[in-house]
Symmetry: C2
Subunit: 289 residues, 2 copies
Amino acid sequence: MDFQQKYDGYKKLVENFLEQRTRKKGISKVDEAMCYSLSAGGKRLRPVLLMATAEVLGKKGYNYLPVAGALEMIHTYSLIHDDLPCMDDDDLRRGKPTCHKVYGEAMAVLAGDGLLTLAFEVMLEQKNVPGDVLVEVAREIAMCAGNFGMVGGQALDLAAQGKTLTAEEMRTLHSGKTGAMFIAAVRSGARLAGAKPEQLLALTKFADLFGLAFQIRDDILDVEATTVELGKPAGSDEKNNKCTYVTLYGEEGAKALLDKTLAEAKMCLEMFGEDARLLSEIADMLKMA
Amino acid sequence: MDFQQKYDGYKKLVENFLEQRTRKKGISKVDEAMCYSLSAGGKRLRPVLLMATAEVLGKKGYNYLPVAGALEMIHTYSLIHDDLPCMDDDDLRRGKPTCHKVYGEAMAVLAGDGLLTLAFEVMLEQKNVPGDVLVEVAREIAMCAGNFGMVGGQALDLAAQGKTLTAEEMRTLHSGKTGAMFIAAVRSGARLAGAKPEQLLALTKFADLFGLAFQIRDDILDVEATTVELGKPAGSDEKNNKCTYVTLYGEEGAKALLDKTLAEAKMCLEMFGEDARLLSEIADMLKMA
């Protein structure tokens, strides 16, 4: 089975889990808005990363679908709120109208709130893990998603519009905005699968570099790809006057940095040998063609 | 020590905890917006309810400050998002400008997101409780705060504006919007303190009736009190064409229903005798003068 088939298999597992777990509806229309965004597609990268990391340590990734699915809920909530008129004001996401375009602003705020809350409910349903481990995993996911992580990065991003950032400021911004949830995904997978401290350390370093590579690639794609390819408006960074790895290093410079970062990320996996093959191949997905 | 002194003592404990727990700042200005709303005052009713419930079962309430404080963070996030221009569009809250009036809409969305996320981080820091119990407590809080509870109730409230609701529809709306978090507070306190099933059942029934009484009182106050007394615009229900217990039963009818509901709530505490005194006195706070 080649890598793409394998990846798609994991993705399907995540999507089935999300569909099944949100089938029972609550008391209002907010469920519909939540499911609209949750089922809008995407690579399901964070949950697949969690599962692939568990497999590095010899565990079956599909055993951790509640925590993995919760990560996708957190990611989706962040996209809904990020797209709001008072934030990035985007009309398209993954080729579909954004949540507030379909359900209105108020309902989109609530859909995001609902998904973030449901994420914690769902991750705490994880079975076959000692209570203390699950508490620690969920606490760390909250830390990565909050004001020291993703929410903090979003707030920095707001404040940065129209400003020129230093490389260090950019790194802090993206470590929060996108990096923290990759770290949450990999560390959760590792902890759930019972990683030893030195394994956790190497995997955390991998996740940090993976997140950096992801952001550099995102910045390059925003310049190179078309709106149809991206499923969201291309060239929006330039439109929004954003400081990116491309504005900082130029297109070629950003590509070189991407290659270097990916190579470093893969070095962190060497100690796991063949067991890290899937995780390593996921990192290869970030290479520019 | 009279009741008010005692209540203020618990309130002070919660406020000190919140102040101390949010002292370490994250990477962006969102922390400032979060603390602005979190320190804006209020009765701290949900955390005090949690502590008072633990004391019904012979435990010290101050041992559960992480979970109690987290409930106040969830409550505060819901107020920030509720006040947004796309929701209730309120300029005043507890006599102070609302979060988005001070920090702008985008930052207020993020401040709410940050507080909701931090709430889960903080509650999972609770010590001296078995991991399995804490997982169950946190999962139930998420359930009460989400699309089957508070967020669902908010969404029903949005949809209900300008419509006449039946008594049953009103009950569903408020059970979600305000009632669910009172249930979360009381049940968390009970579970953390090791309640037996029949104790948990009686306390849950108490919390449900307490929440109903709270809402009826809120509706009466909106008609009777002034903006200065409320710290938010009085008469806003009428302005927003909302269906309330006063529009449904009239002022006198609503007051009679409040008395009846409080009496029923206090009956649920009879089995605990003198141990439930504090909780019973908190219910008495909801009586109209």
